[in-house]
Structure formats: C-alpha cells, structure tokens
Amino acid sequence: MAKMIVNVEVNGERQELLTEPYRTLLDLLRDNLSLTGTKEGCGTGDCGACTVLLDGRPVNSCLVLAPEAEGRHVTTVEGLAEDNRLHPIQTAFIEEGGLQCGICTPGMLMSAVALLRSNAEPSEQAIRYAISGNLCRCTGYDKIVRAIEVASKTMQADAAIASH
C-alpha cells in the first residue's frame, strides 16, 4: 500500500511523517517519532495506556488512524514538563505514590491533565470517572486519586498566585 504524508503538531512541534494509511497515531508517536512514553497495552482501546490529548481531548491513540491526525495537535506525556520543570500532576504522582510499575502512568497523567483543565476542583467521583478508561493493575487506584486531588489543589494555588 502506498505511503502518505501526515502533518501533525506533536508537543508543540510540527512534524511531517511518512506512513501507510492503516497505521495508527500510536504507531506514529512510538515508531516514527521514537516517543515511547505512550504505551500499547491492548491495541483495542480497552486499557487507556495509549491515552494522548488530541486537540486537548483525551483519546486512545491506538484507535486513531494516522490520517486522522492530519492538521491536529497532539500532546503526549513527553510534552507535560516545561523548561525541565515537572508539571504539578507529575510531581503529585511521584510524591503521593500514584505510580508503581509506571506503565499506565503516561496515559493516566494525560487523562488527569484533561480533567483538571476542564474541572479545576473535581470531586473524588469525578476523578474516578475521568480515569475509568485507564486501567491500572498495581496501585488499586487509591493513591492515583489522591495524587490528582493534590495536583488540583496545587494548580489552584499556583493559579491564585499567578493572578495576583
């Protein structure tokens, strides 16, 4: 099958990628761009390990065909830290024990970021709902929920400081 060019912005950088049309956004990220932070856990959209933000919305990148990414903006876990400083959600995960083996963590972080951008002070139920598409087998979710709660408080405090 003939290859095609997909133009997509990834973590703020424009990329021009060569791919067969049947490959997925996950393949583009991991294989074309060597951004292996996003993981493949199932390939069928059931585990959320491949979650990235597509135009700000959390999606299972294993279910997004490469051509669908044309002209869009993608944010992966590699794009969360800025100027070598961790995003508050990343810091909170480390400090609260919100990760163990870490394989679900990139996807979890992206879902959490999307949640906190739309809901600055989510309830526990809202948090659990937002990450219900991200399977974790190590933590039992308890400390992930705490980490997201802590991050939401930190981000609100940062925003309050910034607005003064």
Binding site: E40, I103, R137, Y141
Partner: protein, 825 residues
C-alpha cells in the same frame, strides 16, 4: 529450642524505630521522574538498526495432531527473513550449540522446551510457527501464508472430567507424581499431593458441628498492563544479547542457556523496566522464540505479544474445584478438616497444589487433617504464578467455609478465627513450624476497628443491601539468592548495583537501607540494575523476597562499605581503625573530634593514594523464612435485583514486620486488594466446548477500573521478623489472598446468598439469594473415585520433565516446601 532463639543473620540492625532516620519515611520513588516523563524504557521501547519484527502463528484448535506444516509461501514473501516451526528446533539448537541436539528433547511435555508445538497442539492459541520480517504487517501477512493441516482430537477443559478414566489424554508422557513414586501409565493427573495428620475421620465424627462446601474459582490472568516484549540479537562472536520484560535477567540467562545448550557466558540479558509481572514474568515466554528468530534471520528481532496472545497463551492462574469439610466443637475450636483441591494446571505439568493448601489452611490450628491436591492437565494454557500462587483460591474455600461455620455456631467470624489462629511454634499443613508471626495482631486490628466494632452502616444506594465480611490470608515468604555492591563516589554519594528486577518499588527501599546504614541523605543514593554481564548474580524477583533478601544484601554491602571507608580514614588519620568514629557522613579520631573527614574526602584520597576506591559487597543465600499474615474487612453493597456488587470500603490489616516505606507498603496492599476484587467479582476465562477462549480481550476479561475500586485503608502491623534487616517481611503477595473470600463473605452478610463460585457478580448472586429463600443447599460435598493409581519404578519410561525454566523459578521458592525445613542447631 524455640524458633526465636535461632541465630539471626543480621544482628546489628536496630529494631528501635526511634533511631531510624530514613527507614520508615515516605520518601518519593527514586525512579519516579523517569516514569512520569515517559523516559523509562519498558520491553517494547527499544530498537536496533536493521531490526525485524517477529510474530507467532496460533493454533485454532485446543487439541489436534499436526499433520503437516507448509511454510514455503511464507518464506518466499518479500521482506520475510526467517520462518521456524517446532520441527526445526532440534536443528537450530544443534547449530547454535554445536552439539547433536536429540529431537526427543523437544518433544517432551514441558512448556519450557516446547516453545513451538511440534507433533500436536494442546491448547487453543498455542504457537505453531514463528516468522521474522521487516515490518509487523509483512510478518502478519506471512503468517496467513503458512498452511497447517490439523487432525482435531477430543478436547477436555474441565479438570474433574479430565480425571475420569475415559478422558482424552492431553499429554502422552505424563505420569502421575506422588510422594511414593511415579505412576507407570500416562494420565491427566500430573501430580497428587497428600498431606495428613492424625485421624481426621474420628475428629470429624467427634465434632459438634460440621460444614461442607464445594468451591470453584475460574482461571484468571495476572493482568499486567504491559504485554511481554523482547528484543534479541546474535553477533558473529557467538553471543546473544537480549532485552526483555522479565522478573529476572539471570533467570532468563540460565533458562536460555539450558534451552540453547550453550554456556551462560554467551548470553547477555538486560531486564527492561517492567510494566507489571505479578509472577507471570518469572517464566520465559518470548525469549526462546525471539532468540531463535534472531539467529535464523541474522538480524535483531523484536517481538511484542498482542493482548489476545497475552490472555490466550501466557500463564494464567489455575482454576480450582475445592471440596472442604470442617469439624469443630461448639465453642468454635477446630477439630479436623478434610479437603480435596483440584487444580486445572492446563496443558503441561507444573502449577502446584501445596501453595493453595498451605495458604488456605495455614492460618489455623487443625489437629487432624487430610488434604489432597490434584494437579490435572486439560487443553488450556499451562498455568503459572499469580501473586501468592494458588493462595487466593485456597483461601476462598477455607475462609468461606469458616464463615459458614461461624454462622452455624452463631459466633463472630473474627472471634472464630482468633480462637483457632496459629501462633509461633504451631505447624503448617506441610509440618513446617512458624517462627515469630503477627497474625493475631491483624485480627485484633480488625476487631478493634470502628467499621467492625460499630453497627453496620446503611446502604448508600437505595434498594441495595449492605454487608461486611472478613477473611484472612498468609504468604510464607521467599528468600532466594541476592547480592549487591555499593560504590562510594568521590562526592560522598553511593550507587547500589544489583541484578534483581524492581517489580514493586524495591529500588527505593534498597536506597533507603543504604542511606540509613551509610548515614547519608537519601538523595545521595542511586541504584542501578544492569545486565547479567555487569551485575552480581541474583535470583529472579518474586515470592515477596526482595525487601527481605536483597534488603539483607544491601544492608551487608553498606556495612562493608562503611567498614572499608573507616579503614581508609584511619590510614589518613594515621591511627588504628578502632580509634576512628563515624557519624552522619563524617569520620574523626575519637580523641580529637575537631578534625573531620567526609566520606567524599576519604573516598577521593583513598582512590588516589590510599588503598583504592571503595566498593562494599553483600550477599545472602539463606535466611529463615518470614511469613506474613493479613486480615481484611470488606464492605459491599449488593443490588438484589441484578446481583450487581459494589465494594464500597476495605480495611486491610497486614503484618509487614517493619515498614521501610509506608507509602510503598500501602501501595502494594491496595493493588493486591483490587486484584482480589476483580478475581471475586468479574474476572474469569470463558471457554467454549471446543476449548476456545471467548474473552481474550480487556473488554470482556473484565478487570477493575477506578470506578470499581473503593477507598482502601491500610493498617500496617509491625511484628518484627526474626531474621533479615530491621524485622522486615515481604509485603507483596499476602494482600491478594484474603480478598476474594472477604468479598464473598460480605455478599453473604448483605443478602444471605452464599456464592461458592467465582466470579460472582450478577447471576450467581441472584441464584444464591433464591437458593437461600427456597432452602436449597447447592454446596454439597461431592465424593469421587479416582481408582487405583499405579506407582512404582518406571525405568525407561521416565521422561525428563525438567523444563529449562528460570534458574530458580518463582514457584520453586515461593511455594512451601513439601518437607519440614531442617532445624538449625
């Protein structure tokens, strides 16, 4: 001599918590930054120039003869570099090893040797051929071009059916192993384990009250989110280089060495960051095939299992049919127990009865018992280790039966367990005595917890019924061989070098131990886990052994480093070493504390002109075991109309010996509990009559999500172990053991329906409620007759069932021994 008088291995480690600076602190995960930024490299995250992709062709039949395999069209497809089948294995291995590899060796009923099916397939999805090609798409296309002619055979997928004399034989060369020898005719009963003490018939008949039940659990998967992945490369110097997601790099090296018939020095294995293992990745899966493909293709080969391959063709936990009878006095004292545990171990031997028996009955004093364990072959994937292997199944049966007994006696379930709880010196079903343990303390923690001590809360969901249930569990605790080096840097830092995989956060705990003993800030300690060429030898990670065993090695290495530093400081001070004092990173001569040298200064000087750089070493091969116990209280809400069950709260009390990092301990407990909840409510393999797996995907193999998991409160009980550093005990496996039973007991409390078969959510709850209403008792003791098992010497028919498994497979040292451990003088 009581067990507390046995000599401790690590006598200087202070148990007094007030003196600890880093031990006991909730320090942040040392590799946290790499994991939250996507920099950590897991099994599928590396590549090599010229790399090919490997894929395997699965069998569509659960049981069939392979009449022929034609790979010519696949080989001819452009972009395909290698195609191998089971029949090729002897030739390839002979070439690699420059030996005459006898073909019969690859035709034995051993999952480790039969990495590709040869003359017949024995489970649905068993790999039959493997290809390596330039892209995944070409490899997949090549698979479709492989023509396999099968002749289907009758399928057996139920272990009780498989034990009948007319059942189809899964393997032609498996002879029942018993304590008195091996049988002489092949059978699906791979192993019979019989443990007994006293006169159980008399004990049962003397009992005031008896309960009997038949309990069933389904085959479940460990559910690690990272599928197995491997990258193998062969170079002209005859060496293989392997990158793989594994629980033990030395185990893979040893296993490949055995399989390929080459010395270990020709193999270098690096363990990637591991995305979950839970016991499963203690056995090799992809490594042998990936290695053979790399050799045959002459290029590096990468393989990654799909999720359906993970579910169909790796090593799930066995399902079990368990018949249990308990007899007790009316004050609750257990007098006797009879049990038959039937394990469906899948298509190859291995899988072990004893763990389930020792976990199930191990927490209780049972004066007279007869426990039989049957390891039965069926046309399902060969089973493996899943976090406290066979413990959750065994505990489900025994803890449910105890609940039934408490109900019959009108006794509190906690009080019944306290009455019969084992103490130090009591013996487990394998007749091994317990050292100091903290079981009663976990029961008391639950008994005194407000959620148990107060009246039951009302249901939060209208129309739903609330219930609470209790169950207990234990894990014997593994030891194994561990070794660590501690390299002291010229800036006063330390790097721990070890060849054990971090499966559960132990990197951080090891760094805490080194920081504590070197008396330097935690931030100055780093830890690396390099490959088998550069790391000291370690057994694979599993059996809850790392904090205990590797912790001892790191402790010893840290003390060794400190001793060497002190010796070098004394050279620089020009005084005898015993006049040098040390505290918090500084050395001084006792008679003149005003002159100080830091660790960094000592290390720098010594490297330049003294006795040289400092590396501390520590190793351990034997410690006394440190069993860990847990008691869990689970609260559920049940919808009596649909049978839906929501776990709304869990209190998990566990004896951790000494919590080096409480956050890490809690995380392990919470993770195990939620796996247990999945096991109880929604997880289970579904096979059709042809032995095909109907739910090889994460939509229908339903693991808990964040919405299914409750808040889990952890009560860390600390009863120090009698050996190892600080009194620490392994934490990782115990938490899953009680949970399925606690959930079932809570469901009974909620709706009076006793579900005896897992997974239980939905219809099973409705049926149980209806049974209770109509007075039907489905839990009956089923007696069955195996007929005589002929044993005796087997002569030439004894086949070598040794598989080239990991050097010390997880199951070897995490399952209880069949004989009592030798007592030390």
């Amino acid at each position: 001599m009581t067990t507390t008088e046995l000599p401790r291995t690590v006598t200087e480690a202070p148990a007094d918590t007030a003196t600890h600076v880093v031990i006991g602190q909730r320090v942040a995960k040392i590799e946290g930054v790499d994991k939250v930024t996507g920099k950590a490299l897991y099994g599928a995250d590396t590549s090599r120039p010229g790399m090919l992709w490997g894929k395997m062709l699965p069998s569509p039949h659960a049981h069939a003869m392979i009449i022929s395999i034609d790979v010519s069209a696949a080989r001819a497809l452009p972009g395909v570099f290698a195609v191998i089948t089971g029949a090729d294995l002897p030739t390839i291995v002979a070439r690699i090893s420059d030996t005459d590899a006898a073909p019969e060796e690859f035709d034995t009923p051993s999952r480790g040797k039969q990495i590709l099916a040869w003359k017949k397939v024995v489970f649905f999805g068993q790999p039959v051929a493997a290809v390596a090609a330039v892209t995944q798409a070409i490899a997949e296309e090549a698979l479709t071009l492989i023509k396999v002619e099968y002749s289907p055979l009758p399928v057996v997928i139920d272990p009780e059916a498989a034990m009948r004399p007319d059942a189809p034989l899964v393997q032609n060369a498996v002879y029942t192993e018993t304590f008195s020898g091996k049988a002489t005719t092949p059978s699906n009963l791979a192993k019979l384990t019989e443990l007994s003490r006293g006169n159980v018939d008399e004990a049962i008949s003397n009992s005031d009250v008896t309960v009997s039940g038949t309990f069933r659990t389904a085959m479940v998967h460990q559910g690690y989110i990272e599928p197995q992945a491997c990258l193998a490369e062969y170079s002209a110097d005859g060496r293989f280089t392997i990158w793989t997601s594994t629980q033990g790099q030395f185990g893979v090296r040893g296993g490949l060495s055995g399989f390929l018939k080459i010395p270990p020095r020709r193999i270098r294995v690096t363990a990637s960051e591991i995305g979950g293992g839970f016991g499963a990745k203690g056995a090799m899966t992809l490594e042998p095939i990936c290695t053979l493909l790399a050799y045959s293709a002459g290029r590096p080969v990468k393989m990654q299992l799909t999720r359906s391959e993970v579910l169909r063709a790796t090593r799930p936990a066995p399902d079990a049919v368990m018949h249990v009878t308990l007899g007790a006095r009316k004050d609750g004292t257990l007098l006797g127990a009879r049990a038959a545990f039937i394990w469906d171990v899948g298509a190859y031997p291995g899988g072990g009865s004893v763990g389930g028996i020792n976990c199930g009955f191990g927490p209780y004093i049972v004066p007279a018992y007869s426990y039989d364990g049957y390891d039965v072959l069926t046309n399902r994937p060969s089973t493996g280790a899943y976090r406290a292997p066979n413990g959750p199944q065994g505990a489900f049966a025994v803890e449910s039966a105890l609940d039934m007994l408490a109900s019959k006696l009108g006794m509190s379930p906690v009080a019944l367990r306290l009455k019969n709880a084992v103490r130090e010196g009591d013996r487990n079903p394998s007749d091994v005595p317990y050292p100091r343990i903290g079981f009663r303390e976990t029961l008391e923690a639950i008994e005194n917890h407000p959620v148990w001590a107060s009246p039951k809360a009302a249901s939060s969901r209208p129309g739903w019924l609330r219930g609470r249930g209790v169950a207990c569990g234990l894990w014997g605790g593994g030891v194994g061989t561990s070794m660590a080096h501690v390299n002291i840097g010229e800036d006063g830092s330390a790097v721990i070098v070890t060849g054990a995989v971090d499966l559960a956060g132990t990197r951080t705990t090891m760094a805490q131990i080194a920081a504590e003993e070197l008396q330097i800030p935690f931030e100055r300690v780093n830890i690396v886990q390099p490959d088998t060429d550069t790391a000291p030898f370690n057994n694979p990670t599993g059996g809850s052994r790392i904090t205990y065993s590797l912790g001892t090695a790191v402790y010893r290495a840290s003390i060794d480093a400190r001793t060497k530093l002190k010796q070098r400081a004394s050279q620089q001070f020009r005084c005898p070493a015993d006049e040098v004092d040390y505290r918090d990173g500084e050395f001084w001569v006792r008679s003149d504390p005003s002159v100080r040298l830091t660790i960094g200064q000592v290390a720098r000087s010594a490297a330049g002109s003294g006795d040289g750089p400092v590396v501390g070493t520590g190793e351990v091969t034997h410690l006394l075991r440190a069993p860990a116990f847990a008691t869990q209280l689970v609260e559920v809400e049940v919808d009596p109309e649909t049978g839906a069950v929501q776990v709304v709260n869990v209190i998990a009390a566990q004896d951790v010996g000494r919590a080096i990092n409480p956050t890490a301990c809690e995380g392990q407990i919470q993770g195990g509990v939620v796996q247990g909840i999945g096991w109880a409510l929604t997880e289970g393999y579904v096979y059709d009559e042809q032995g095909r797996l109907r739910n090889p995907g994460l939509l229908d193999y339903r693991m808990p999500t964040a919405l299914d998991a409750p808040n889990i409160e952890c009560v860390l009980v600390e009863v120090p172990a009698i050996d190892g550093p600080y009194g620490v005990r392994g934490v990782g496996e115990v938490p899953i053991v009680p949970t399925p039973a606690a959930v079932a007991n809570a469901v009974f409390d909620a709706c009076a329906g006793r579900v005896t078969s897992l997974p239980l959510s939905g219809e099973p709850v409705i049926l149980a409620i209806n049974d209770t209403k109509s007075g039907v008792d489905r839990s009956q003791m089923v007696t069955f007759n195996l007929g005589p098992i002929s044993t005796g010497s087997t002569g030439a028919s004894e086949t070598a069932v040794d598989e080239p498994k990991l050097a010390t497979e997880v199951e070897d040292y995490c399952a209880e021994d069949d004989v009592a451990e030798p007592e030390l003088e």
